[in-house]
Amino acid sequence: MKLHEFQAKDIFRRSRIPVPDGQLVTNVDQVIEVAKNLNGPPWVVKAQVHAGGRGKGGGVKVVKTTEEIKSAVDTMLGKQLVTKQTGSQGVTVHQVLIEEGVNIDKEYYLGMVVDRSIFMPTMIFSQAGGMDIEEVAAETPDLIFKEPVSPITGWLPNNARNLIYRLDPLPEPPVIKALLAVMANLYKAFISNDCSLVEINPLVITKEGQVLAVDAKITIDDTASFRQKDLMKLDDPREKDPLELKAEENDLNYIRLDGNIGAMVNGAGLAMATMDVIKSAGAEPANFLDVGGGANEEMISKGFEIILQDSRVKAVLINIFGGILRCDVLARGVLAAAKKNSIEVPLIVRLEGTNVDEGRKILEESDLKFLVAKDLAEAAELVAKQVS
């Protein structure tokens, strides 16, 4: 689950990671009152959306008068913001953060992830802050410092020293002290909130020698939701595609893609491979849908409905390899959805595995019109025919 910047900064405040003072507005009328309570000019106006690349998309503005705050907020609230991560449609801005401006002396990057190859939470630090860190990593990997943390010891001061004393030039002693504290607190916040990613870009050293997290990005590990119930309340469903949201409510893995062939598959690997098969047949998948290994009739039915409700879909491929999910359960689920929704596009069904004969029989004896593919190669051919 992704958090908004203002939510991530609330967590930072609680974790004693300094951030600039700021306030959230959802209405342009709140601006004058908010500006009165914040030091400035200058102020910074920041659209609160999950997508990155806000700065270049016009979602971050530095302003010098209250009038300018108002007009900046006005150009963002309720409008579509297009960034390199949103696609051409953009996303609607529902909330805007107004913050005090800061006197930037230096910009660093500080982040934390779990390095899957060594099984350890790893802090990432760079003096090339304020830039696209992926580009920095690709072009000047020497500027990226990494420090893995043993889960047995937790974060220790030597971990921070290993990062900080590689800086060139070395900051003043008070700044080093502040960095030591920020790093230790970041580690604590990462662990106690079950984060899968924390990013501060830039971590600013102000001209006054203060260390401030000027931007904040946090992603929470969804599998920890059972013990992070308060954090889960921060989820913003407005940031999600409506069909993806419906899938989520039904415990289905659905991702909207750009094509026109709907696909329903059991298992993530097979679902990805089925998308690839659709593509190599000369078509484009409209979605990724993994109904999961243990789907029941209702989940199948809901999954099929989600595809049928997608107006872009011109044909549907159901590819099920029955394991725990039995083919007869699949067949009943498909029929249940077909009863509630009219199916106006060609349906291609490929079934194999547990209870396959029973599943095929249930479909054949129904009113449902569909094409049978005996294997994946034939399924691909039938898909190709639909799009030619």
Binding site: Q85, V114, R116, S117, F119, M120, P121, E134, A137, A138, S150, P151, I152, I191, D194, S196, D221, T223, A224, F226, R227, N253, I255, L257, V265, N266, G267, A268, G269, L270, A271, M272, A273, T274, M275, D276, V277, I278, K279, S280, E284, P285, F288, D290, G293, G294, F321, G322, G323, I324, E352, G353, T354, D375, L376, A377, A379, A380
Partner: protein, 294 residues
């Protein structure tokens, strides 16, 4: 031979009285897997399908000689179950559970790191040595005893591959799903090392997917001197970056984990990569035929 498990493996099922645990215990018993014991805390002394149930794994090891564990424990308690098995001296731990918090797996993975044991999973279908033993949830009838070793990060995709292999007349020595999570106990390389020394295994099928760099590392290892022909397939050529494709570990992020990079690394290592799942069985046949004719 086969690797990791065979007809003498003595399995303890952790979470044996749960819905999934009991269902798959029956399926494994049908396959003649020796289920030596079950564990459900608080239900020690009971029986499940004639299998004695204990409160702890240690008891299952001490009293029934269990040496393989199969975990169906719910996600909040599954990392603890892995650590319990490891501490009790189990040699092969198979964790089926999906959805274990990453930071729990960080602890479990670091706990087992220097121990003489193998952890398969989590979030995996398990292991089957066809005709000998099945420790997991895969549909048994599609398998056939034979010469191909199969390693995969996926479940149903592995079933599809095995189905094609069996259909093309190629049986399997051992099939292993290493799991779809970001942190799994076993890498492709760990398994390749075992297949290398297994006389029953004549060739290997490696099924990867987007996310991480496990396939690239496997390619390096194979290039450096793996002695058997490998055919590979990578799922997710059409997956968009930044999205988790069902498996927690299947995500392209920070410019890492793309299918095209993995395919290129494998091809550069001289490995045949099937670009289309529909024809994978055929590709493996060709690779094996070519290898035999040399």
């Amino acid at each position: 031979m086969s690797i990791l498990i065979d007809e003498n493996s003595r399995v303890v099922v952790q979470g044996i009285t749960g819905q999934e645990g009991s269902f798959h215990t029956r399926q494994m018993l049908d396959y003649k897997t020796i289920i030596a014991a079950g564990v459900t805390p608080g239900k020690g002394g009971q029986q499940m399908e004639g299998v004695p149930v204990f409160n702890t794994v240690q008891e299952a090891v001490d009293k029934e000689g269990a040496n393989v564990s199969c975990i169906f424990v719910p996600p909040p308690f599954a990392a603890d179950a892995i650590i319990e098995s490891a501490a009790a001296g189990i040699g092969v731990i198979v964790c089926i559970t999906e959805g274990i918090p990453v930071l729990d797996m960080v602890k479990a993975a670091n706990f087992i790191k220097d121990k003489d044991l193998v952890l398969i999973g989590p979030n995996c279908p398990g292991i089957i040595s066809p005709g000998k033993s099945k420790v997991g949830i895969m549909p048994a009838p599609i398998h056939k005893q034979g010469e191909i070793g199969v390693i995969s990060r996926s479940g149903t995709l592995t079933y599809e591959v095995v189905y094609q292999l069996t259909g093309a007349g190629m049986g399997q020595s051992t099939c292993i799903g290493i799991g779809g999570d970001p942190i799994v106990g076993t890498s492709f390389i760990d398994i390749l090392k075992k297949f290398k020394d297994d006389p029953q295994t004549e060739g290997v099928v490696l099924i990867g997917e987007i996310g991480g760099t496990a396939e690239e590392e496997a390619a390096e290892y194979i290039k450096a001197g793996f002695n058997k022909p490998v055919t590979a397939f990578i799922a997710g050529q059409t997956a968009p970056p930044g999205r988790r494709m069902g498996h927690a570990g299947a995500i392209i992020s920070g410019g890492q984990g793309k299918a095209e990079d993995k395919i290129k690394a494998l091809q550069d290592a001289g490995i045949s990569v099937s670009l289309n799942l529909a024809s994978l069985g055929k590709t493996v046949s060709e690779v094996m035929a070519k290898h035999r004719s040399v």
